[in-house]
């Protein structure tokens, strides 16, 4: 697992209070991990802080699963 993927998982475990084993690439924040709309906003914000980037709203809307978050951040973080 990439360093980014691990950090993403850690944030999700911490903020949503789920087990790491539940945080699979296909897992949806809202359908599988119990997040509501505010939780999702908080996750995006935590990703922004952790990776020191700004995720535009129109792109944040497309981040609904763990895998989508990891790929987005792997592509955009550290640039």
């Amino acid at each position: 697992m990439s360093e980014i993927a691990q950090k993403v998982k850690n944030i999700i475990v911490e903020k949503l209070g789920v087990e790491e084993s539940e945080v699979t690439p296909e897992a949806s924040f809202t359908n599988d991990l119990g997040a509501d709309s505010l939780d999702t906003v908080e996750l995006i914000m935590e990703f922004e802080k952790e990776f020191n980037i700004s995720i535009p709203d129109d792109q944040a809307e497309n981040i609904g699963t763990v895998g989508q978050a990891i790929s987005y951040l792997e592509e955009n973080a550290g640039k």
């Binding site: 949503l16 209070g17 505010l38 906003v41 908080e42 914000m45 922004e48 802080k49 700004s54």
Partner: protein, 416 residues
């Protein structure tokens, strides 16, 4: 129309001298101080470095961590005290018509620490706002009543009253009115505060309201003592279940006391100082007696506002003397803030509980640390110094006054 009667059927307390009602009452009647050095933040540079903090509380024993982190401590306190009150009331949540159960909570400030933390975090950055989406809901004062309603499914009237240190009493009076008008069958009332924070201590230090007796925290809250030098900040919550009398009787509830009157007024004088002759306090106490339809001579005990500030304490006693005349000297008077500290918006809640437990046990809790009564105070008052007093109690009054000149008074009576 005939007004319905309103009784108290459940109590819950989370205080600096006990995390539940039995412990709170034991310590209150034994004269235990809840004061100690501040542990919640580094207070080494503050004028006041002690407070009456809630101790030994593990919030996650009551609220799942994931929920708890979306709430400020004042909301944790509200939920924990209300859990106890609801359990104590014996209400069956499946049977009670929860559309007719309200929540009217009191808080003077709301989520002060949440506000501080977020803004301090923001100030450390480069100006880009990355405000947590739970920031507002943690902070706003009404989140306490909202969270209580969600936890129990109470769908009746729901809001928070804000009148500084009179907040809870205002909420109790509102609920009293709704229930006696038949608009609710039950209501969770009470208050919570969690202002032992940098802004809370620093702010009240700045207007010279706090005691600075750092070398002896446990004797710092000393209402009516000639060497009092300010109030001691307390924190915590008190929760009470108010219920329409016939409803309580029908379900065989334990009834602690009847709420028979509520009185309110404003000083219309100064934003922090009380009226020099205690005019607002007088008017509110008179309003409460009139509302209850009783004679002043029927009051046996007054749990005073008595914060231990130089200016506040004598004015309240002047107002009592003016209203009660010679009966003033037959009443037991005590300020339980000498033990709990001043819980600001939650003060009325824990003091209503103290008053009701006094009725139940026929014991007046003391004003501790009252070593030498201020010469400005008439020596004929029985201020219940140092030790609790046993006496026959039928009717008790609990006073609360707030910055802004708000005064709110409630009267409880043993059910006849």
């Amino acid at each position: 129309m005939t007004l319905k009667r309103v009784v108290v059927t459940g109590l819950g307390a989370l205080t600096p001298i006990g995390n539940d009602v039995p412990t709170f009452w034991n310590n209150l009647s034994a004269g235990v101080s809840g004061a100690g050095p501040i542990t919640k933040f580094d207070a080494s540079k503050f004028r006041t470095r002690f407070a009456c903090e809630v101790k030994g509380l593990d919030v996650t024993q009551f609220i799942p961590r994931q929920e708890a982190r979306k709430m400020d401590a004042f909301t944790h306190y509200a939920l924990i005290a209300t859990d106890e009150a609801i359990k104590d009331s014996g209400m069956d949540l499946e049977k009670v018509d929860r559309n007719k159960v309200g929540v009217i909570w009191g808080s003077g400030i709301g989520g002060l620490k949440s506000f501080e933390d977020e803004m301090i975090d923001y100030a450390k950055g480069d100006g880009t706002p990355r405000i947590n989406p739970f920031f507002i809901v943690r902070m706003i004062a009404d989140s306490a009543s909202g969270q209580i309603s969600m936890r129990y499914g109470f769908r009746g009237p729901n809001y928070v009253t804000v009148s500084a240190c009179a907040s809870t009493n205002n909420g109790i009076i509102d609920a009293f009115n709704y229930i006696r008008l038949g608009r609710m069958i039950m209501c969770v009332v009470g208050g919570s505060e969690a202002a032992v924070t940098r802004a809370g201590i620093g702010g009240f230090n700045a207007n010279r309201a706090l005691s600075e007796r750092n070398d002896s925290p446990e004797t710092a809250s000393r209402p009516y003592d000639k060497e009092r030098d300010g109030f001691v900040m307390g924190e915590g919550a008190g929760s009470l279940i108010l219920e329409e009398y016939e409803h309580a009787k029908a379900r065989g509830a334990k009834i602690y006391a009847e709420l028979i009157g509520g009185g309110m007024s404003s000083d219309a004088y100064h934003i922090t100082a009380p009226h020099p002759e205690g005019l607002g306090a007088y008017l509110a106490m008179k309003d409460a007696l009139d509302d209850a339809g009783i004679d002043p001579s029927e009051i046996d005990y007054i749990n005073t506002h008595g914060t231990s500030t130089p200016v506040g304490d004598p004015q309240e006693l002047k107002a009592i003397h003016q209203l009660f005349g010679d009966h003033s000297f037959k009443i037991n008077i005590s300020s339980t803030k000498s033990m709990t500290g001043h819980l600001l918006g939650a003060a009325g809640a824990v003091e209503a509980i103290a008053s009701i437990k006094a009725l139940e046990n026929q014991i007046v809790p003391p004003t501790i640390n009252l070593f030498n009564v201020d010469e400005e105070i008439d020596s004929r008052f029985n201020l219940t110094p140092l030790k609790a007093q046993t006496r026959s109690l039928t009717t008790v009054m609990s006073n609360a006054f707030g910055f802004g000149g708000h005064n709110a008074i409630v009267i409880f009576r043993k059910l006849s």
